[in-house]
């Protein structure tokens, strides 16, 4: 019988990135007893890595901008697979959320008349991204962190949640986890739980994600009985560093292209002109001259093709490299040096300058960067109600990257930070409303808690077994090669089969060294079940979606298929889910868009 400490709250929020912090602030403002639980120290979540900005149709740079244009851009960028209601709320509410950040102390870059300035990004018709140089995510997380701290919200740092708990009626009742610094177990009873755990990228070999991106929230939600949707829709950001190898995958902001940077192949050709899809031809420049006029005046020419949505650009880079026109280290060239002054580059892109100088010894004001696609973001996630962020489980909410639907099959740059603050707030409101309508105490089932604790300790008791790092490495290799940027049926079949083998190995994992105190091998062993679960969901979804759409490209089905465009791939497990339980894949119709919004897409034709 293991001892553990216990805490009781109205709402617990798992994850302390932008969505988690914003949800906590909202719930606290409603007078609730709130705790934030995060795997790392406060302020270190992956949100800090967001660089370019937060998309909001404030109209500060182009007065023509409004929520309808932002909504349309978002839906088209997502290839119409988006939950239209989420995309609508997001476009309508993000300007207020940005202003609110300023009221909480954020210092955004300004226009000449003193308003928040906005920059261009792929897929956005107007300059729309409020930003702070190229460190906008840091500004967002620090602002929310400082606000949360000033409100005396309890924070459980370096605390890993293993499983969610439900009561006899099926409603959420709390969670079980452990403190990483001590290895001691901890339980929470809570009337409501908000998942804000971010993404899944750590299961791929080349990723911009940190160690935390293991899909904990996705997996725990499905194990507890919630649905996941469209887990095959994964964004490979077109521009990650490719060299040196040790930093391969680290992000290079889209702001480089928004500020004038262009992509070239080994023949020094701006190849993106060869990859303009039919859907975007009407609004994309057809020559370099036209494209170059656009940066200064968006009415003088159409958009440069380097600023097409990320899925388009990533596929184009992949094709160039495959055709033998890549850079020496297997990427392409991203050139801003020949197009903008050194002073401009250092002012607009300070952290990119710093990153390349320190890690690669490359001066980006003088030399082009070598870049290539890196696993960056999952559009799929927990199925939620748009207005309340509620999942199918009473009391369980999800916001941010862990939630699915908002971005359809491909996310536009800048729409993630705005997603966090719009739906973080809505999740906080949703949880508060839910709590007002419920009655009775929350009871945890001690036997259930004990079983979860015991299971997590098994790796210490084995005499022999698998090194968790070996399983992680093999998983990353498998997902990179078989469920990567371009997929095909036979490779996906192989991935699904091999994932079962990896699960067998994970069932036999061993942790050497007797301590639970800050033991990264044990931490990884407890992350593996979620990593394997989300990887399985991605592979199964990719197998079932026999078309190419957004962040899901099938070599054997290279075109979008209208029939698949009308369904979400819904993934679920029967009661008592877990890593070893089978996952069901079920295509279900997407939410039908009302006629008054459909008009926005017809007019534009």
């Amino acid at each position: 019988m293991a001892d553990y400490e216990h805490h009781s709250y109205d709402v617990i929020i798992i994850g302390a990135g932008g969505a988690g912090l914003r949800a906590a602030i909202e719930a606290k403002q409603r007078g609730l007893k709130v705790a934030i639980i995060c795997k790392s120290l406060l302020g270190k979540a992956h949100t800090v890595m967001a660089e370019g900005g937060v998309a909001a149709a404030m109209g500060n740079v182009y007065e023509e901008d409004n929520w309808q244009v932002h909504f349309r851009d978002t839906m088209r960028g997502g290839k119409m697979l988006n939950n239209w209601r989420m995309a609508q709320l997001h476009a309508q509410e993000s300007p207020d959320r940005v202003l609110e950040l300023e009221q909480w102390g954020a210092l955004f870059d300004r226009t000449k008349d003193g308003k928040i300035t906005q920059r261009d990004f792929g897929g956005h018709r107007y300059a729309r991204l409020a930003h702070v140089g190229d460190r906008t995510g840091l500004e967002l997380i620090r602002t929310l962190q400082q606000k949360a701290v000033s409100m005396d919200i309890d924070v459980f740092m370096e605390c890993k949640i293993l499983r969610l708990l439900r009561d006899g009626q099926g409603a959420i009742s709390g969670a079980v986890g452990y403190w990483r610094p001590t290895g001691e177990f901890i339980t929470f009873s809570a009337k409501s739980v908000i998942l804000a755990t971010g993404g899944v990228g750590k299961s791929w070999k080349y990723t911009s994600n940190s160690w935390e991106g293991t899909g904990d929230g996705h997996a725990m939600a499905m194990w507890a009985g919630a649905d996941l949707i469209d887990m095959e829709c994964i964004q490979f950001h077109p521009t990650g560093m490719v060299w040196p190898l040790s930093v391969r995958g680290i992000l290079v902001t889209e702001g480089v292209r928004g500020d004038g940077g262009v992509l070239r192949n080994s023949e020094n050709k701006r190849f993106m002109f060869d990859y303009i899809a039919e859907m975007f031809k009407a609004e994309t420049a057809s020559s370099e001259e036209e494209a170059d006029k656009w940066y200064d005046d968006h009415t003088a020419g159409r958009r440069p093709p380097e600023l097409l949505p990320r899925d388009e650009v990533a596929r184009a880079i992949n094709s160039e490299v495959k055709a033998g026109r890549g850079s020496p280290h297997g990427g392409v060239f991203l050139d801003i040096a020949s197009r903008r002054s050194a002073e401009f580059i250092r002012r607009r892109l300070p952290s990119m300058y710093h990153q390349f100088m320190e890690l690669a010894g490359v001066d980006i004001t003088a030399t082009p960067m070598e870049v290539g696609p890196t696993c960056h973001y999952i559009m799929g996630g927990v199925r939620v109600d748009a207005d309340t962020a509620a999942t199918a489980i009473p009391g369980l909410f999800a916001a941010g990257e862990v939630a699915g639907g908002m971005h359809g099959s491909n996310r536009l740059g800048g729409n993630s930070l705005s997603d966090l603050i719009v739906f973080g707030r809505r999740a906080g409101m949703g949880a508060a409303d839910y709590i007002e309508g419920r009655s009775g105490d929350v009871q945890l089932d001690a036997a259930q808690v004990q079983a979860i604790i015991d299971e997590s300790l098994v790796p210490f008791s084995r005499e022999e077994g698998e090194n968790p790092y070996d399983i992680q490495r093999d998983l990353q290799e498998l997902m990179q090669s078989n469920v990567g940027i371009i997929r095909t049926g036979s490779e996906l079949d192989e991935a699904v089969a091999k994932l079962e083998e990896l699960k067998e190995r994970a069932n036999n994992v061993i942790v050497k060294g007797n301590t639970r105190v800050y033991n990264p091998a044990w931490n990884l062993a407890t992350d593996l079940p979620a990593m394997l679960t989300v990887s399985t969901c991605a592979a199964l979804g990719a197998q079932a979606r026999k078309e190419s759409r957004g962040g899901h490209t099938r070599e054997d089905f290279p075109k979008p298929d209208a029939a698949f465009g009308k369904v979400n791939m819904v993934l679920s497990q029967e009661n008592g889910g877990g890593m070893n339980a089978p996952v069901k894949v079920d295509p279900q119709p997407i939410l039908e868009m009302p006629d008054d919004l459909k008009v926005l897409f017809e007019e534009a034709k």
Partner: protein, 258 residues
Amino acid sequence: MTDLTMRIWRGDENGGELVDYTIESQENEVVLDVIHRLQATQIPDLACRWNCKAGKCGSCSAEINGMPRLMCMTRMDQLPEGPITITPMRTFPIIRDLVTDVSFNYEMAKRVPAFNPPPMPEGGHRMQQIDVERGQEFRKCIECFMCQNVCHVIRDHEENKVNYAGPRFFIRYAELEMHPLDTNDRRELVREKMGLGLCNITKCCTEVCPEHIKITDNAIIPLKERAVDAHYDPVAWLGRKITGRKKRTADEAAADRP
């Protein structure tokens, strides 16, 4: 490929020692890459913090050959030949191996009175770029806490930790002091309760800042000047006499919550 000797501090709150590990060198690695390879192949339980691996989160601070550095931004090929010594930050209590208890910093963060702006006008506040840039420099801080680690006021004097905010929080106070919208006056607070006077401007903090924030020149010195002005300036005293406005005491500033 040659072999590297990594001399890593292993231990916990009860003590520890430097242990040598040999591992093959690989091209273009940073220190954190080598630590990760050691974890994966030889020392699975080697404790170390990290997140972004791109110098943006400030998690992997350690002392490399005695110098506080981010392990993710320190290239192996820029270190001198011979064994590479990696020890945890010395100013904070040890948890295990390279991981320290940095909760001191989070406690100090709680003591900063919140940003307190006037109500937002329709369409948002207007501020000029030149006015936000001063604060933006300080908001580049990634909270690696290396400035706190090298500050001798607390590195060598544990007893000062109760009443000394440290460089990281002096830049936070400076940022709020220089924020175009903030209405609270924390100058007495930072002088009286946050130990600003204990800093004798040795600039160690500025030297180690991975974000190259001019902590001493742009934050601490101006803050000292403002705090002293507020406290001793006879003209300001006269002005207060005439207008009847009082300067805010440390307690009044600390109590100000939006």
